[in-house]
């Protein structure tokens, strides 16, 4: 989230799209209810299903799953063609004025530089024109034909309300009402928050869904202001923290990058990340990348990391290619993976195309499940009839199930979707023989290191170099590890005048203290400050709100630097004055920046310098034009899902996202609309969490079994009665469940035809207390977003047929 849960109360308009907060995040959704009752805020919901969030909305617009970009681009077109934008914000705080090079173009659904055989772009033409002074050229009047603003007007002009209706199935008047309400916030007086979840990300164009939304917020001036923002609700309790830590194939902690083969030395890695400012007086904060990187290496390798050995850079593995979950299972399926450790993870349920997953797992030599509870994955070798029909004896995989403590049996910190790092205290002893994850991993690591010490082996060096100086090496304490994440001074740190500003051994108070010469450590720079010289700030429990703006700045510690709203300098105009009294938040008092929050800006930077509020970018502005940072183009384009019920009405020759990865370019994996005419989408129930709570009695009692939600019209067409067993088949698999016939789903008119839907709750499997079911992911296609590789679970094709005689 750019903003946070309690800040939602400051919104005037709330748009929930690609999420269902009332059911999936009920206690966070209460802040929408507060905004409605306290400020008279209006809630609008755009969703294929009339969800419970829609049920309490002021306006609901239906949409075909997979067509969000057409809808959002329609909103962008509405804002631009009605001049309903926050012009001064757009001019000064976005790259609208930047002039794009002549080589850039877009035609027939493709940008310049497409290479079909690679399914990828050469992105070099998606760049600004650079002037002789080395800075990017701008036209602050926004008139230049190649400035981003003019390019946008041309690019989005095709997304008229009629086109939105044709592609998305949203009736024109319902679409227009959304656009008008959005436009009502483009003035600095009012603000809109956008709340989304996996309904936006789980598409082959998921990242562009979110970009489209962010662009709308920028055009309205809704980023960096109270009640604004683009807010990912997020799934698992610590998915934010674990993403921050970077247990992702290409990541280091704090969004630093893994070394690759093309970066043989530390200097070559850092040189690619110089982040030279593109305008005068810009912060371009990533210029400090080297300080964070070296401090990371000092944390990882301790004393063994020295200036002479590039601080241990060579010990880190170098990435040859990225291995996201879909790729991991593809490699495994090819028999190229020996072992898999699953920590609180049930991939057989959660990864696309479970038929392939089970075959892949069977090729492993060993599988280790570390989890408080049994998972379907740990039992993948066991035959469960139609739900998991495997030949047990032929599966040669050794499987371990290690008992891990549950959430109450350990202490530590978690980062919520508002980026707030909060401590939890241990409430109970470990149940049974369970051990903490950290103890299991310490044990494993120390055993391996000992094996290498005792008997040698391949490349013991990188293992022996790791710093493992915990007080009890077999049981690192959570407090100790949080201190390690924060970082400390390794020698006395002096300022330019030679004055000691931090003594050797002291914790760092902020990432601004980090150095590139090896005199500081700290593996997670964005968290620095959480364990400062003042102590463990994630334990703070002061719930006061001194500004009265719902800012609880002394509750936990919010990264970065305890900021509750990101980019908050944008809540003031270029001179540092709040855009309006109503939305005053962070402002310039003539000497310093101050206000309700920690300013996201150098504290004494005079507004006359015209330093931009988006301090992380070399422009100092946000980007309406993404340059080369997105795989499928600098602007969003409506591409159909890979399994689509219609040809792309705008660009019929293009199937799916042209830059999305399709394994071995195998289009056979997708079904077509003739055989599978019905759109399917997965969703969550308020009583269940992913695949865990089917093993929890209470949840299994209240929602005991899988079902197939469909409209009355579809049920009638197929001769299906309420409660009847039905089969849902895709090109890859089949699931069976009872029909739940509701008014929440309605057929849509798309591109001249009537389109039916089914909704499939995803929580069921063959292990646990709930009734057995085949994994919903036996249906889904193994294709992901072109940037993030998030699988396309929210729009695929199936057919539905009744199974037994209708119930009387």
């Amino acid at each position: 989230m750019t903003n946070n849960w309690t800040d939602i109360q400051n919104a005037d308009i709330v748009l929930v799209m690609g999420g269902n907060a009332a059911e999936a995040h009920p206690c966070g959704f209460k802040w929408v209810t507060e905004a409605k009752s306290e400020r008279g805020a209006k809630l609008m919901v755009v969703d294929p299903r009339f969800t419970r969030t829609a049920a309490v909305s002021d306006h609901y617009a239906p949409i075909r799953s997979g067509s969000d970009i057409a809808f959002l681009s329609g909103v962008i077109n509405y804002l631009l063609s009605n001049d309903a934008i926050h012009t001064e914000y757009v001019r000064n705080y976005t790259n609208a004025a930047y002039i794009v090079g002549e080589g850039y173009g877009f035609s027939e659904g493709l940008f310049t530089g497409y290479e079909e055989d690679r399914r990828a772009y050469d992105r070099s033409s998606w760049e600004y024109e650079i002037g002789e002074d080395g800075f990017a050229k701008r036209d602050m009047t926004l008139q230049h034909p190649r400035c981003v603003y003019q390019l946008m007007k041309a690019h989005f002009a095709a997304y008229t309300p009629e086109m939105v209706q044709r592609i998305s199935g949203t009736p024109e008047d319902k679409f227009l009402k959304v656009a008008e309400w959005v436009a009502s916030t483009a003035n600095g007086e009012r603000s809109m928050t956008i709340m989304y979840a996996l309904g936006w990300t789980q598409h082959s164009h998921g990242a562009q869904n979110i970009r489209s939304a962010a662009m709308i917020q920028l055009l309205c001036g809704n980023i960096g202001v109270p009640g604004g923002g683009i807010n990912a609700l997020r799934g698992h309790s610590n998915v934010q923290g674990i993403t921050d830590i970077g247990t992702l194939t290409a990541s280091l902690p704090g969004y630093l990058a893994m070394p690759t083969d093309a970066e043989p030395t530390l200097d070559s890695h850092l040189a690619k990340r110089a982040f030279t400012p593109l305008q005068e007086n810009q912060v371009s904060y990533w210029q400090n990348y080297n300080k964070f990187y070296v401090s990371f290496l000092k944390g990882m390798y301790g004393r063994n990391a020295t200036a002479d050995n590039q601080f241990g850079y060579d010990w880190l593995p170098k990435l040859d290619t990225t291995y996201d979950a879909l790729k991991m299972f593809d490699v495994m399926h090819k028999g190229q993976t020996t072992g898999l450790l699953c920590q609180g993870f049930n991939p057989l349920m959660s990864i696309a195309y479970s038929g392939k997953s089970v075959a892949a797992l069977a090729k492993l030599k060993f599988l280790v499940s570390m989890d408080p509870i049994e998972t379907d994955t740990a039992y993948f070798w066991q035959n469960h009839g139609e739900f998991n029909d495997v030949d047990t004896a032929s599966i040669q995989t050794e499987v371990f199930m290690l008992p891990v403590t549950s959430f109450v049996e350990e202490e530590g910190s978690l980062t919520n979707s508002s980026r707030n790092i909060q401590w939890k205290w241990r409430a109970a002893d470990p149940y049974f023989e369970s051990r903490r994850d950290t103890d299991i991993l310490a044990d494993l690591f120390l055993r391996l290191r000992k094996l290498y010490d005792d008997e040698g082996g391949t490349a013991p060096g990188p293992i022996q170099a790791i710093d493992w100086s915990y007080a009890d090496p077999m049981a690192p304490a959570a407090e100790e590890i949080l201190r390690e994440l924060n970082g400390r001074a390794l020698t006395d740190l002096r300022d330019a005048e030679g004055k000691v500003v931090r003594r050797a051994g002291e914790q760092l108070a902020g990432f601004g203290e980090m150095r590139a010469d090896g005199s500081t450590d700290g593996v997670q720079w964005i968290y620095t400050g959480v364990y400062s010289p003042e102590g463990n700030l994630s334990q703070r429990r002061d719930n006061s709100d001194p500004s009265g703006k719902n800012v609880y700045g002394s509750w936990g510690f919010c990264w970065p630097a305890n900021r509750r709203i990101l980019y908050n300098r944008a809540s003031a105009d270029p001179d540092g004055k709040p855009w309006s009294e109503e939305k005053a938040y962070v402002f310039w008092d003539g000497q310093r920046w101050g206000g309700a929050d920690v300013p996201d800006f150098p504290p004494t930077s005079n507004p006359s310098l015209r330093t931009g509020p988006f301090i992380m970018t070399p422009e100092g502005t946000s980007r309406l034009f993404a340059r080369g940072f997105m795989a499928e183009g600098p602007f969003p384009v409506h591409y159909e899902p890979f399994e689509a019920p219609v040809l792309n009405p705008m660009f019929p020759a293009i199937r799916g996202n042209p830059a999305a990865r399709v394994f071995d370019n195998d289009m056979e994996i997708f079904g077509d609309a003739e055989e599978f005419p019905i759109v399917a989408t997965t969703y969550r129930l308020t009583e269940h969490f992913h695949y865990w709570t089917k093993s929890v009695r209470y949840n299994a009692v209240v929602q005991p079994e899988f079902f197939v939600e469909m409209s009355h019209a579809l049920a009638e067409e197929r001769g299906i009665s309420p409660g009847q067993m039905v089969s849902v088949r895709s090109h890859r698999g089949e699931v069976k469940g009872r029909a739940m016939i509701t008014k929440r789903l309605q057929p849509l008119q798309v591109d001249g035809r009537t389109l039916h839907y089914v909704g499939l709750p995803l929580h069921f499997g063959f292990v646990g207390q709930a009734r057995k079911a085949s994994p919903v992911n036996s249906l889904t296609p193994p294709v992901g977003d072109a940037n993030a590789q998030t699988p396309e679970f929210k729009a695929f094709l199936v057919d539905v047929t009744p199974l037994a005689d209708p119930v009387a």
Partner: protein
């Protein structure tokens, strides 16, 4: 506000005891005993309270977790969970998921001891922690020794172990996340993923 309610409940509990005593003072000793026997002790009296957060979604609702020593094992076990009234986000509320978290802790599916399934076997068997950890370490070392790549075709040091994968849990703490990163990358793994995408 909810805190006041629970304090009030606490006082009501005490109030019942006082009423009984007053009846006793009027000479109704038997009534007092009978009445006292019907009054259940406030069940959180003998518990220890810890502040925690919900294990499920990323709203991260604050929880008050009450524990007491188990009669069987003597270990501290959880007897009750409710929303943390002090938490500025959830303010004491929990949704149907969080409200059932106690049942997650005592799920019938809890793995109690290390379990091991031999190649081709049709069941898990119980094993000791030492057996499981030693066997896993052996299997990992065997594979790392066989498949670890120190330099690529161009002679660049790459130190990677391409044949081993780690799926890192997004419900684990930040501290577990870092130890996971350190161990997995330290050994040279590239196949690392968490639940950010799913």
């Amino acid at each position: 506000m909810n805190m006041d309610i629970s304090r009030r409940r606490f006082l009501q509990g005490a109030g019942a005891g006082v009423a009984g005593t007053a009846l006793g003072a009027f000479g109704f000793g038997g009534v007092e005993a009978a009445y006292a026997a019907t009054v259940k002790e406030f069940r959180l009296f003998r518990t220890t309270e810890a502040r925690s957060t919900c294990p499920y979604c990323a709203v991260a609702c604050g929880m008050m977790v009450f524990s007491a020593p188990s009669a069987e094992t003597g270990r501290m076990e959880v007897v009750h969970i409710e929303g943390d009234v002090d938490n500025p986000v959830n303010r004491g509320t929990l949704c149907p998921k969080g409200a059932g978290a106690l049942d997650y802790i005592r799920s019938p599916q809890r793995v109690k001891v290390p379990m091991y399934r031999k190649a081709g076997a049709d069941a898990f068997e119980e094993v000791s922690w030492d057996f499981a950890m030693e066997r896993i370490a052996q299997l990992m070392k065997e594979d790392r020794d066989a498949n670890f790549i120190e330099t690529n075709a161009d002679g660049v040091t790459v130190n990677r172990w391409p044949t081993m994968g780690f799926l890192s849990g997004s419900s684990c703490t930040n501290e577990t996340g870092w130890i996971t990163w350190k161990v997995a990358r330290g050994l040279g793994m590239l196949q690392i993923e968490n639940q950010a995408r799913i």
